[in-house]
């Protein structure tokens, strides 16, 4: 009996083969993810560096890397930001309606329809953007130019085709809506009944209850949802490439004209086919920039979520 009390001797635990296999599997799955990520990063860096250092006369655009990539970065961030501004309030509203306002049956049907939106391929969104949205937005842009032209965003001249960065952003907003709505809905449904009742018992209306109990509880979830949406909007290629009418090198606050900055992803897709030599490296380097931006966005989201950890409701 004394030997079991000896602190130097490790107490042996039973090792079951099932435990070992499972822990081995899950560890290797985790390592695999890291390897893939490292592989992608290494590829982008190694192939991208010649593009970054390439002299202007070696590449098709005739520009050195920074002046070349800056308008693309600007276009990417602008389109994604506008999409997010449009999409977040709608997603929260729809999710709140499904989770707390609608009759249960209607909520289920609506939730199902929203999920279906996520299954639509992006080329279809692109077609919809060109064929329907753009022509229908054109008159709105003319009106904006006429009446709100003093705001730099709507300075004009309004695009006749409607294929503006604004239209592209609306398409993106629709594309990122399903994932954000789905996440918000799940989080809203998880709000503890206890907190909802606490608010109601104080005499809160349903909207006040949402503001008092649901939104604070769901805050980190909403941020995560927005970041997932933003990630998709930043990387979305085909729909933007189809919808947007691009003028290379544009940096403008004007959202409704026919001279628009392209986005990194769309630019890669459109230029890659006819690229050769150092131009390919430049495109890969722009991909590296997109990769870094996405990373930073995720870190920022994590920081926002962590900032008020004490108040998160998880303790």
């Amino acid at each position: 009996m004394t030997s079991t009390l000896d602190p130097r001797r490790k107490r042996s635990t039973v090792v079951r083969p099932g435990d070992r296999i499972f822990s081995g599997l899950s560890t290797s799955a985790g390592i695999l993810i890291l390897l893939v990520l490292a592989g992608v990063a290494a590829f982008l860096t190694i192939e991208g560096i010649p593009g970054i250092t390439a002299s202007p006369d070696e590449v098709k655009s005739g520009q050195s890397f920074l002046p070349y990539v800056w308008p693309l970065v600007y276009g990417t961030l602008l389109a994604a930001t506008i999409a997010l501004i449009i999409s977040v309030p709608v997603a929260i509203g729809v999710a709140l309606f499904i989770s707390h306002y609608s009759p249960r049956k209607l909520g289920q049907v609506l939730g199902y329809l929203i999920d279906l939106l996520a299954a639509v391929p992006s080329v279809v969104y692109g077609l919809w953007g060109i064929g329907f949205l753009a022509p229908n937005m054109a008159p709105i842009y003319r009106w904006l130019e006429g009446n709100l032209g003093f705001i730099p965003f709507f300075a004009g001249p309004a695009s006749a085709t409607g294929r503006t960065i604004m239209t592209a952003s609306v398409v993106l907003a629709v594309m990122i809506l399903p994932i954000m709505t789905a996440i918000c809905r799940e989080i809203f449904l998880q709000t503890p009944r206890l907190h909802e009742e606490a608010a109601l018992a104080l005499g809160a209306t349903r909207w006040e209850m949402a503001r008092m109990a649901i939104f604070p509880y769901a805050r980190s979830g909403i941020v995560s949802a927005a970041m997932l949406g933003l990630g998709r909007a930043l990387g979305e290629t085909l729909a933007v490439a189809m919808v947007l009418s691009v003028s290379a090198g544009t940096v403008t606050a004007n959202l409704i004209s026919s001279t628009n900055p392209s986005t990194i992803a769309a630019n890669i897709a459109l230029s890659f086919g006819e690229a050769s030599g150092k131009t390919v490296n430049v495109l890969i380097a722009s991909g590296l920039v997109l990769f870094v931006i996405t990373f930073l966005v995720n870190f920022a989201a994590r920081a926002i979520v962590d900032r008020r950890k004490d108040f998160s409701g998880a303790n």
Partner: protein, 259 residues
């Protein structure tokens, strides 16, 4: 402040299911009334019908009358939101808002009334409410910390402070001590004694000793079987209910023979 409640012939339904049948009970102002009875006898449901919180569940409705100082709680001109602002409630499990500081938790009800308040004014309300709830000394140095960092008993007193910060007419307590240890329980019971000088208090409890300790009046609820509606069996001065119950079921329950 502190109004009386008059309930007559109240039936409470969830959909088609009759949960509580035919309750008639007068509740005096500035008194403590305890509801006791076995699980599922409808005492919590009845309590929640006193501030229309049972309506949170879909399909819930009532027949009969609940008068607060003569004012019909279920009158067509009564908004449940206003009813709940007038009649505060403390729940079984402490439920301070986890995302708010202690300070903001106390003021949560005031914010709903959307009165613009000066800082000094809200400071006063927070201090007064926390003092009444017997929590001031323990938290006055950390009002900006989250309410969820307090102990269970402190959280429950915070909830009481939150409920009384809006100076309700009536305070309903749904088993406020069932999740607490004996010491926290006795603190809350002392608090109930102090609060009844200002508020009409109705408390549901599973603990008969607690009912005997804190209440002036006791009402015994029972149900005749599973799926049958709960009924009010008898109500009277706490002393006489415990020493000389009229109904054999009451006697059996308080002697611990069932429940």
């Amino acid at each position: 402040m502190a109004k009386s409640i008059d309930v007559s012939d109240l039936n409470i339904y969830y959909g088609d299911f009759l949960a509580v049948e035919d309750v008639t009970i007068p509740i005096a102002a500035k008194s403590v009334t305890a509801f006791i009875g076995p699980s599922g006898c409808g005492k919590s449901t009845f309590l929640r019908s006193l501030n229309r919180m049972h309506e949170v569940i879909r399909g819930a409705r009532v027949e009969g009358k609940v008068l607060i100082d003569g004012q019909d709680l279920y009158g067509s001109d009564m908004d449940p939101v206003n009813v709940r602002r007038m009649i505060g409630m403390v729940f079984q499990r402490p439920n301070p808002f986890p995302t708010m500081s202690i300070y903001d938790n106390v003021l949560a009800g005031q914010k709903l009334n959307s009165k613009r308040m000066k800082k000094s004014e809200s400071d006063d309300i927070v201090e007064r409410s926390l003092r009444s709830a017997g929590l001031w000394a323990e938290v006055k140095d950390r009002l900006d910390r989250p309410g969820s960092g307090l102990s269970g008993g402190q959280q429950q007193r915070l909830c009481i402070a939150r409920a009384i910060s809006v100076e309700p007419e009536v305070l309903l307590m749904d088993e406020p001590c069932s999740a607490l240890d004996p010491i926290s329980t006795s603190v809350i019971e002392d608090l109930i004694h102090e609060l009844k000088t200002q508020y009409t208090i109705v408390i549901v409890t599973h603990n008969m000793q607690q009912a005997a300790r804190v209440s002036d009046e006791t009402a015994f609820f029972n149900l005749s079987g599973v799926g049958k509606p709960g009924r009010l069996i008898e109500v009277g001065r706490t002393q006489s209910i415990f020493s000389n119950p009229q109904d054999p079921a009451t006697e059996a329950y308080i002697q611990g023979r069932f429940g």
